[in-house]
């Protein structure tokens, strides 16, 4: 094969600009199809998980069902992972993406977010043998933090806790196991699901320290950039679900406690 032919083949393989990604479905398209496709990540219990019948269940699927019922269409849940969430939206495989979609200004350059579904509260997950009481205690060369690759806490850690050693693992199950095995000293991350997650290590004396100094972030529905018809409808549906207490009720059912920070509901968006 000559070099030029190889280069052509390479460009074709990578599709660099060669194919325009599919367009997302508008609200009208979804109503016409009679189906809302929502991406959820079942590796993030209790947000989403596989139940004993091997079906996807959890906070997000139940909320997605409430949204689909409001729209009067069938709900189809699509399993997504953290890295491929956005390609799923872009390639028109899902209409709405969940999977703990924390809003950040960087991410909002790529997809559009609705108003918040729930708050995300952060803290230090460690064992009672460790003395950590605040975030600043983690900024030391003797501290190894075990985090999940691709989560929102990581840029913060790199910027504000630069002395700490970082080990990035693939998912929260691996993170929990590594902490239980003493591979690191702590993890700074969301603590909403901790009560649910750490039950499987009864022998470990866990300690969870809330860190209000970090602030609160919010999770939303994600839709394709510019899909305003769907985003605006979702905002109104969310307002109704919040004011009716539906979101909070589903939250408490799965997270085993009330939301640490209530979402300030406003009729405007």
């Amino acid at each position: 094969m000559t070099m030029s032919r190889f280069a052509c083949l390479l460009a074709a393989c990578l599709g660099l600009g060669a194919t325009a990604p599919a367009s997302a479905r508008s609200l009208d398209d979804i109503l016409k199809a009679g189906e809302l496709r929502v991406g959820v990540n079942p590796t993030l219990p209790p947000r989403a998980l596989f139940n004993e019948k091997n079906e996807i269940d959890g906070f997000e699927p139940e909320l997605a069902k409430a949204v689909a019922d409001k729209l009067g269409v069938k709900l189809t849940l699509v399993q997504v992972g953290s890295p491929d969430r956005i390609p799923f939206v872009v390639a028109d495989k899902v209409d709405v993406v969940m999977g703990a979609m924390s809003r950040t200004s960087e991410r909002a350059k790529v997809i559009d977010f609705t108003a918040p579904i729930h708050s995300e509260n952060y803290g230090i997950v460690t064992t009672d043998a460790k003395p950590f009481a605040k975030l600043a205690d983690l900024n030391s060369e003797s501290v190894t933090l075990i985090q999940v690759r691709g989560t929102t806490a990581i840029p913060f850690i790199q910027k504000n806790l630069p002395k700490a050693k970082l080990v990035l693992l693939d998912n929260y199950n691996d993170r929990d196991r590594a902490l239980a095995q003493g591979r690191g000293d702590a993890s700074f991350d969301g603590i909403d699901a901790v009560a649910y997650r750490l039950k499987i290590f009864p022998a470990i004396k866990w300690k969870v320290v809330a860190t209000p100094e970090y602030g609160v972030s919010y999770s939303s529905f994600g839709v394709a950039k510019g899909n305003y018809s769907l985003r605006d409808w979702l905002n109104i549906a969310l307002y109704e679900l919040h004011t009716a207490g539906t979101v909070e009720a589903i939250w408490e059912k799965w997270f085993l406690k009330p939301m640490d920070t209530k979402v300030p509901v406003t009729p405007y968006f």
């Binding site: 094969m1 660099l16 390609p87 960087e106 989560t151 693992l169 196991r177």
Partner: protein
């Protein structure tokens, strides 16, 4: 509402990705060398060793050829601590890749030993070659020529395999790609650049291996 490709958003990370590519190259090279040494010893045992040793080597090869590398590394990283052996991310991945490659390279090198015709060795003995001379002038050049292409292929495969390391906390090319993707959400752009880095890694290796094969073993292969 179509997605617009924005490569400008990810260009600041090119250097960071190059660091990951360098780590992937290191992992592949070290795992290959260790795996090659394991393979050479095990292949010799299979061909010339005593029976109990042969069986234990066979068990090792069968086990590692028939289980996924991911499972093997998972065992080294997450199961061994229950027996009090705590390996770091890099050590567990390197050890897993080396042992796994060792099983493959055992079979490859065993085939190399088997490819030597008895008549050639006998001819050398007739000519009065010493054992060392037979190995240097008859066996090694022959084995080298036969083994070089499959060994090269194995090295290229190993380079791709390094991406598994990301799952266990090693910040190589795939791991860093995931990190940037999580921050920017520019998945198409960042993964296509990562693909180019991998192609560069394997192309450079292919050209180098082609040169080595041509110079040392007079193998007339093609890179493209």
């Amino acid at each position: 509402m179509a997605y617009t490709l924005q490569y400008g958003q990810v260009t600041p990370y090119l250097g960071y990705l190059a660091g990951g590519a360098w780590l992937a190259l290191q992992l592949a090279a070290i795992a290959f060398v260790i795996g090659w040494a394991i393979g050479l010893v095990c292949a010799s045992v299979l061909e010339y060793g005593p029976r109990p040793l042969r069986w234990s080597v066979k068990a090792y090869v069968v086990f590692f050829l028939n289980t996924p590398l991911l499972v093997q590394i998972f065992f080294l990283y997450f199961a061994l601590p229950d027996w009090g052996i705590v390996l770091g991310s890099y050590q567990a991945v390197l050890l897993g890749m080396a042992i796994n490659a060792g099983a493959y390279l055992t079979e490859i090198q065993r085939a190399g030993f088997r490819s030597i015709r008895k008549a050639e060795v006998e001819a050398a003995e007739t000519l009065g070659f010493s054992r060392v001379q037979i190995i240097c002038y008859v066996v090694l050049p022959h084995i080298g020529k036969v083994l070089f292409p499959p060994l090269s292929n194995q090295y290229i495969i190993l380079t791709m395999t390094t991406s598994i390391a990301a799952i266990f906390g090693v910040e190589e090319l795939t791991g860093r790609t995931y990190n940037i993707n999580a921050q920017t959400f520019r998945s198409f752009e960042i993964f296509s650049i990562a693909a180019l880095y991998y192609i560069a890694l394997t192309l450079v290796a292919s050209v180098a291996l082609y040169a080595v094969g041509r110079y040392f073993f007079r193998i007339k292969g093609r890179v493209f």
